[in-house]
């Protein structure tokens, strides 16, 4: 058995795998720090804005008006969907009611299907 080759492969293999992943760790950490500081700088700029500082306290959000027959679970799903599309915050849902479907128009599902099939072109 060639011990020299065996130890060469083991030592160089383990050290190179660690080296590459340590470099990636440092790069990702540094990038995360840069992103954090950029976001913080943006926030500080916003908080330093005199117009914003003088803005009144946010208005109390009125209670949600939910149409009868729509369960809390459905409201939760709708809220989660809107949050996913809008990026999480900065919106308030005031009411949830069923959309009226016109007799001649397409249903919501039909519209969604048509959009999915045609939008790539």
């Amino acid at each position: 058995m060639d011990f020299t080759l065996a130890w060469t492969v083991i030592l160089s293999g383990i050290s190179i795998v660690f080296l590459v992943l340590i470099i990636l760790t440092l790069i990702v950490m540094a990038f995360g720090k840069i992103m954090d500081s950029a976001v913080n700088a943006k926030k500080n700029n916003k908080s330093g804005d005199p117009v914003k500082a003088a803005s009144p306290a946010p208005k109390a959000v009125p209670a949600q008006i939910v149409e009868d027959g729509i369960s809390d679970e459905v409201v939760a799903v709708i809220s989660a969907s809107i949050a996913a599309v809008l990026g999480g915050s900065g919106f308030a849902i005031h009411s949830v009611r069923r959309a009226k479907e016109t007799a001649r128009g397409r249903s919501v599902w039909s519209l969604a299907g048509m959009q999915q099939n045609t939008s790539p072109f």
């Binding site: 058995m1 492969v9 160089s12 293999g13 795998v17 440092l26 990702v28």
Partner: protein, 408 residues
């Protein structure tokens, strides 16, 4: 009378050309044994659910290649030729069977990177970006690869006549410890083409057995207190970070280990397509149709390399034992490094996430979650374990690049 003679001659001719006379020879009997082994693999895949997506095509490739007289795969076409070329391209084009043509994708190293493209399109690197220290666990879990390399060389030296693994064979066997099927195939097709079938079957079988192999090792190496550690919630990751990650990783890995570029490059291309959000059609194709087509081609052609002459040898037994050792040491390496990180961070890291550093996405991460919840039902380690899990994919690709660079 003439008609009856003609009929008898025709029947005799068909029987002579059929597979049955072949069964009277030793080669035919060995082929029959291989067909039975493929049936056992069908049972494991269909009844026991062992990685069926790959094991069924692999086992069927094994069945096809061992059909006497069918001649669907010719290993001699893919041996190194007198002029130094890695295969006999003219023979393959002129006289190759279906499986010879499909095997070109393995031999030329096309299928594994395409599978990685699909994996990249399905992977969320967010947990890894949120906690980059997870990379280290992904590196530590590659320990199994290199220890098994040593084990394979030692086994070869102990039984030089029957097993006699070369250094290149040992490298291809060691990569089973990466718990990454495409990577194992990518390395084995270059370093040990004759062992490809056995290595692929061992790699995918053990990947299916991760939920059985890992928990006893994880429990043996950790205390109850360590297993109960609840980790801090991961920070949200910005879109820019997710977009920059695949590009930076490709550049860094490929600059240091160019041999890993095809695997890591395609993995990261798939991921960039997913994170960009502007090529949904390509992402869907990479995740579904392309991945499924390549999986079928890869499985069938890898199974085809398991001819009786290649598979029914003491080497296969050695590979099965070494594969188990590779998985066990990989798991132990990750858990022990997790313990070290636990000590260094003052108890903020649960060592159980270390075992997910062997790739096997997402099975290994689910095992970390399950073992953690056995001690503390309100503990959710899954997303923390996904970090080392996807780091393990990158780690095993880097390890594959290193082995290819040294042993090719």
């Amino acid at each position: 009378m003439e008609i009856i003679n003609g009929f008898v001659e025709a029947v005799q001719g068909i029987i002579a050309k059929s597979a049955f006379p072949q069964l009277a020879t030793t080669e035919g009997l060995l082929q029959l044994v291989m067909i039975l082994i493929s049936c056992v693999l069908f049972y494991l895949a269909i009844k026991k659910g062992f990685e069926p997506l790959l094991l069924i095509p692999i086992a069927f490739g094994m069945l096809l290649t061992n059909l006497p007289m069918a001649g669907m795969y010719h290993p001699e076409f893919f041996q190194i030729q007198a002029d130094g070329s890695v295969m006999n391209a003219m023979e393959i084009m002129n006289h190759g069977g279906l499986l010879d043509i499909l095997y070109l994708g393995v031999k030329l190293g096309v299928y594994p990177p395409l599978i990685f493209l699909g994996i990249g399109a399905m992977t969320d690197f967010g947990p890894l970006i949120a906690n980059p220290k997870s990379f280290l666990l992904g590196a530590a879990a590659q320990l199994g690869i290199f220890l098994t390399f040593f084990g394979a060389l030692a086994l070869g030296a102990a039984f030089p006549e029957t097993i006699g693994f070369t250094a290149a064979d040992a490298g291809a066997i060691g990569i089973i410890g990466g718990a990454d099927g495409p990577t194992a195939i990518y390395v084995a097709k270059t370093l040990a083409p004759g062992l490809l079938g056995s290595i692929a079957v061992a790699a995918y079988s053990y990947m299916a057995l991760v939920p059985l192999i890992q928990p006893p090792i994880m429990k043996a190496l950790t205390t109850k207190k360590e297993r109960m550690i609840v980790m801090e919630q991961l920070r949200p990751v910005s879109r820019i970070e997710k977009l920059a990650f695949p590009v930076l990783t490709t550049i860094v890995v490929s600059f240091i280990v160019p041999d890993a570029a095809p695997l890591v490059g395609m993995l990261m291309l798939g991921n960039l397509m997913k994170e960009s959000g502007v090529v949904d059609r390509l992402v869907k194709t990479a995740q579904n149709e392309l991945m499924n087509i390549v999986t079928i081609f890869l499985g069938v052609s890898v199974g085809a390399t398991a001819t009786a002459a290649n598979f029914l040898s003491p080497k296969t037994l050695g590979i099965v034992v070494l594969g188990l050792i590779a998985f066990s040491f990989g798991t132990a390496g990750g858990v022990l490094f997790g313990k070290l990180m636990c000590v260094v961070t003052g108890g903020k890291v649960n060592p159980l996430i270390g075992s997910a550093g062997v790739s096997a996405v997402p099975m290994a991460a689910r095992v970390s979650q399950k073992v953690g919840q056995q001690e503390n039902p309100s503990n959710f380690l899954l997303m923390h374990a996904m970090g080392p899990n996807v780091a393990g994919v990158i780690g095993s690709a880097v390890a594959a690049g290193v082995l290819l660079a040294i042993l090719k």
